[in-house]
Symmetry: C2
Subunit: 334 residues, 2 copies
DNA sequence: GTTCGGATCTAGATCGTTCTAGTAACTCCA
DNA sequence: TGGAGTTACTAGAACGATCTAGATCCGAAC
């Protein structure tokens, strides 16, 4: 019960089936060159022995691993939604995914090295924080796809969402509702925070409005603090860096006795599972993460299978309208 | 820029340094048997060429992979907290972790097979849902540690938290505060739900109180529905299956205009990041997930390094007191 | 009847390591 | 001086698969 017996090898299966190793190899990977009867016989023997090909040996010889390395951040619930979608797409393309988390005390580089050691043929990094130079170094070894970040240099593929367009949609939506005092709770040092901040600036000016930004961050606590800092000088609408920050903002409003969206409209970003909760119903800018993930996987597979230069794919996000945005309260407007 | 050049091998380094492959191997893995001068010379040559050992080949030969397979559910934020802790402990023990997610359309078995293909020397499964028979089958191939579930049969290790003790602590805490009408919002079909429901039954009876359970589940929506079902016949305290369900319950109370903890006390389970949010401050039963994760890794490593029978480690959870539990409202008590 | 060609199968080299066994040189000491 | 013991190094066989090149069989074509 407790003793672990040695894994059966090709040789064992070959002996059991009375054929050569090479033939078993042919059958196992479904290659042409074996008759139907022997194919059956070999399969049967393999099943009998509980044979599983040793991927190390297989990969050592063939240099094909059919493996995509995917790094994500364990502290970002949003990333795990992407992981789900990536698994599905990879499976459909006949690839397996090697996961590696960027966690506390485990920098991105460690995660990447682990993925390379597993034999990944391409890497997909969700919101990588490495410098372009470091990214380029890894891109010299395997095709590299940056997901959700696009300023990654020429040697790296990227699949991202158009942050500027997302913010424009947000600002357009709120101004169309009649809002004029709109504040952006920014993402601090998070990936994409700079782009969204800049886009907010541009878009507000385009509408002839004053672009007011308050420092925030990617978590509920960041949003909460930002919301509290607005008390006493409350705008009529708030665009948060992401959904989690939006939740924090809404909590601060609730504590002040302000109603959403009656008193203040709040708009999130990501359309994450939090936004979809029935009691939250957060209006949000959706990046269509599952679609992006699928695109990243497709891109990685294409780079592997037919040599080609890196490309930069940008998708336009869209507004998911729920219950946290509405017309501003009809109060003393000039 | 785009062309991937061949990785240098031991042979290349050996040629460059003017020594044999074997000697380079000795130097690279820091084994005894090389003089200091040559050691330097070889290291220099390796650095020069940018040599990285090919783990596939290395592991093929040595049959040691120093790899622990860890499966988790991508839809459980709580699991990712465990992943973090496991990474840290594994690194400290000199092991790497291979991650595999159980996701939508990707059953636990697929995740496990992937981990075995990577060459995991042991498996750690977080809240496995497979049958004991299936678990035993895998346990015949590699040491298997079940984390957070302990009814897994004799051939499988388990590291878990004492659910009965956790519920006892919860009930004791609330009764000590003076509550007599306590309801358990259960976990439905989730792992551990049965144990907690049974424990609640026993403990309430022990206190001479009526054990009332309402159907719930592991998510916010489940808690929300359960909370709504209580409207009109509200107890003075609620023990939720986990923190996420507790959040849902609190939301339903809030919608009804009930104050927590003034009108109703709410107690969560897991002490997850949600419980710790400054605006939630949920009192919760902590399973000390990082400690459990570390214990599971330790257990797996021990099983690998010195053959021994499976063991079942049970830790006692503890109460983390925050702001959602208090004395019951002083109303018409008999 | 020989040759050809396709299908089926096999032997042996190979991938990049580690491991075992052994050689060569040098020191130590009776 | 001549083993014994130590240290530094190397040759070649593993590990478990894939791949190349060739062997064998068998029916069809000339």
């Amino acid at each position: 019960m407790t003793e672990q017996q040695r894994r059966p090898t090709l040789m064992d299966v070959a002996r059991a089936a009375g054929v050569s190793r090479a033939l078993v190899s042919i059958v196992m990977r479904g290659a042409p060159g074996a008759s139907e009867p022997t194919r059956q016989k070999v399969m049967e023997a393999a099943r009998e022995l509980g044979y599983r090909p040793d991927s190390r040996a297989r990969l050592l010889r063939s240099s094909r691993t059919k493996l995509l390395g995917l790094s994500f951040s364990s502290s970002q619930p949003f990333h795990t939604e992407i992981v789900d979608a990536a698994y599905a797409e990879a499976a459909a393309r006949g690839y397996e995914i090697a996961l590696s988390a960027v966690a506390n005390g485990r920098p991105e580089e460690r995660a990447i090295e682990a993925l390379l050691d597993f034999g990944s043929e391409a890497l997909i990094l969700i919101s990588p924080t490495l410098s372009n130079q470091d990214l380029a170094r890894y891109a010299g070894q395997v095709p590299l796809v940056s997901l959700l970040r696009n300023d990654v240099g020429e040697s790296v593929d990227s699949v991202s969402s158009d942050d500027h367009a997302g913010i424009r949609i947000a600002v357009d939506h709120l101004t169309a509702l009649g809002h004029r005092r709109i504040v952006h709770v920014d993402g601090g040092t998070a990936v994409s925070a700079d782009q969204r901040r800049a886009a907010f600036h541009t878009e507000m000016l385009r509408h002839g409005l004053e672009p007011v930004t308050v420092p925030g961050g990617p978590t509920e606590e960041d949003g909460l603090r930002a919301g509290q800092s607005l008390i006493g000088d409350m705008p009529s609408a708030i665009i948060a860096f992401n959904d989690r920050a939006a939740l924090g903002v809404m909590e601060s409003l609730r504590a002040t006795g302000l109603q959403v969206p009656t008193d203040v409209s709040v708009l999130g970003y990501d359309d994450s599972q939090f936004a979809r909760l029935s009691y939250v119903q957060l209006s949000s800018i959706s990046q269509d993460a599952p679609l992006l993930a699928a695109a990243a996987v497709d891109r990685a597979v294409e780079r592997i299978e037919t040599p080609q230069p890196p490309a930069h794919l940008v998708r336009t996000p869209h507004l998911v309208l729920r219950r946290t945005t509405g017309h501003p309260a009809p109060q003393m407007q000039p």
